[in-house]
């Protein structure tokens, strides 16, 4: 395995909670090259031959195993598009941890566009965690444009946790999912933007089978002069249930545009959306001040809790 420097190690910790080489299957991508890979008896990771990226094959029935595929970038000016395809066999139950950390100390923009496709077999269960993090004091931007496509077969369940708290200047995230009968998708997105950052998050979830359900919830904070757009659409084509929620705090000159969308094409599709945007409630700050915190400390506690 290639030796990682301190910055790369720090990025790995931020995006994948990794201090050392992880247990189970993994592939660590560093500055556009593989810095280490391990397949296991049930999880095979192979490089794509036509484009940059990986194929991850998870055998049917694989239980309680994990796959880590973090990406770190520390060279200014790198731009890459990576295609990772996950084939998750029937009845498998796995945790997949992705994530990208960019440290840009230079003047050129660094960009990683990860396109992840998930083919989730019957009754399989997947927990997917994706964290984004940026650091470095260069003037070059840190750009991440993740694309996620999820294809869920009958009775499968996918839980996605998407987190971007710090340092990414520009993001356009697009997530699409289609669900067969009794499949279930839960998305929890947490986002904080600051400075002049811009983050756009678009979801289109199509519930095709009877009993399919989706719950897409975004919690976000926009500070300074940043801008966010949350555009979540759920399409119900059968007797199904869908819920989207955008719950946001704005501070300073932050701006947020929430565009919840529902499309019911079946009389038994039950779809709900909620969206709330506002500044931190004054009585929340006062309550914490009566416990001895300063106004700034109170705000920090409220935001930390909100984005937990």
């Amino acid at each position: 395995m290639v030796k990682l420097d301190e910055i790369q190690k720090r990025l790995l910790m931020e995006v994948a909670d990794l201090h050392e080489v992880p247990e189970g299957a993994y592939n660590i991508r560093s500055n556009s090259a593989s810095a280490g890979r391990r397949s296991t008896a049930h999880i095979e990771i192979v490089s794509k031959t036509d484009v940059s990226g990986l194929e991850i094959h998870i055998a049917p029935g694989t239980k309680n195993e994990s796959v880590h595929i973090p990406v770190v970038m520390t060279q200014s000016g790198l731009r890459e598009v990576v295609y990772n395809d996950f084939f998750i066999g029937e009845d498998a139950d796995v945790v997949i941890v992705a994530g990208c950390g960019i440290d840009n100390c230079g003047t050129q923009d660094s960009e990683h566009d990860g396109i992840h496709r998930f083919y989730v077999g019957k009754n399989a269960k997947v927990k997917y965690v994706e964290k984004h993090y940026g650091s470095g004091d260069g003037t070059g931007k840190r750009i991440l444009n993740p694309g996620t496509e999820v294809y869920q077969e009958e009775g499968s369940s996918v839980e996605m946790e998407m987190v971007q708290i710090k340092g990414v200047d520009d993001t356009e995230r697009t997530t699409t999912a289609s669900l067969a009968a009794n499949a279930k998708l839960v998305v929890r997105e947490r986002l904080m933007t600051h400075g002049k950052q811009r983050a756009i998050s678009t979801y289109v979830v199509t519930l095709d089978g009877e009993g399919a359900s989706a719950d897409v919830v975004s919690r976000s904070v926009a500070r300074d002069d940043s801008f966010q757009k949350f555009d979540a659409k759920i399409v119900g084509n059968a007797a199904c249930s869908g819920h989207t929620e955008c719950d946001s705090i704005i501070m300073d000159n932050g701006r947020i545009l929430a565009v919840p969308g529902l499309e019911a094409n079946d009389v038994d599709a039950a779809l709900v959306h909620e969206a709330a945007i506002g500044k931190i409630a004054g009585d929340q700050i006062i309550k914490l001040m009566t416990l001895g915190l300063t106004e700034a400390e109170a705000e920090e506690q409220i935001i930390n809790g909100f984005l937990r």
């Binding site: 006062i286 001895g292 909100f306």
Partner: protein
């Protein structure tokens, strides 16, 4: 000991100035439980907020153990040991009961220590410690957690603004016990409760009656309480009272 000297508070509404509190002189002695009561709109909650620093008086002085704290903000007063339980406890998305108690205690309490504060207010600690202080909690649960945060601070002056408001009768019974226990174990501190409830007044050392922004009666409980029971105001409030302000409500 807290002293209020000639405290006034005016607000401007519809272009007209209105006096909410008028020249109040008041002493809350150490190791006493003092209950402030009086009709709605009389200025009781405003008085509590003036003490906690949430509102700033338009006239007068507030002294805590001899120090003039009139110009100090909420945080500074909290750091000097003034605790304040809100009439309507605040909800927070994502902040857990454990987090709130740790913030209140000002240190990283162990879970077991934090649980003790919840048990003190009659909550089964294990069920609540990891829950978020959000809309999933009932009014009575929130109220007790609010009180636990004040107890955790070990204040020199704990102020409770209408602890009975918005809770069910069953929780209220427990609440009385909580305050009775606090009264019995009071040490180097004092307790100020804003309340309409006869049963809370009953455990007071002293009672202060505020009406139209002024103190109209104050003294030892035994001297003041009999004069409140059966007053025309009490009868009127009882007739229109809700379950919580029900049979024992004086105003």
């Amino acid at each position: 000991m807290l002293e209020l000297k000639q405290i006034s508070f005016d607000v401007t509404a519809d272009g007209r100035e209105k006096e909410i509190i008028r020249n109040i002189d008041l002493v809350i002695p150490d190791n006493k439980l003092v209950v402030v009561t009086g009709p709605n709109g009389g200025g009781k909650s405003t008085l509590a907020k003036l003490i906690a620093g949430i509102e700033t008086p338009t006239g007068g002085q507030i002294l805590l153990d001899g120090e003039d704290i009139t110009a100090l903000g909420v945080t500074e007063r909290a750091k000097r040991g003034i605790g304040f339980a809100f009439q309507q406890p605040v909800r927070f998305k994502g902040i857990r009961v454990l987090d709130l108690i740790r913030i209140a205690a000002g240190r990283r309490l162990s879970v077991a220590d934090a649980c003790r504060y919840l048990s003190a207010v009659g909550l089964c600690a294990r069920e609540y410690i990891d829950r978020e202080v959000n809309a999933s909690l009932s009014g009575g649960e929130l109220k007790r957690i609010e009180i636990a945060t004040v107890i955790a601070r070990k204040c020199v002056l704990s102020v409770f603004d209408e602890p009975e408001a918005g809770i069910d009768l069953w929780s209220f019974q427990n609440l009385i016990e909580v305050f009775r226990h606090m009264r019995e174990t009071i040490q180097d501190g004092s307790i100020l409760i804003i309340s309409h409830q006869e049963r809370i007044l009953n455990i007071a050392d002293e009672i202060i009656v505020i009406r139209d922004g002024e103190i109209v009666a104050k003294g030892e409980k035994d001297a003041v309480l009999p004069s409140l029971i059966g007053t025309p105001e009490a009868v009127r409030r009882c007739e229109g009272g809700t379950i919580v302000e029900g049979e024992d409500a004086l105003w």
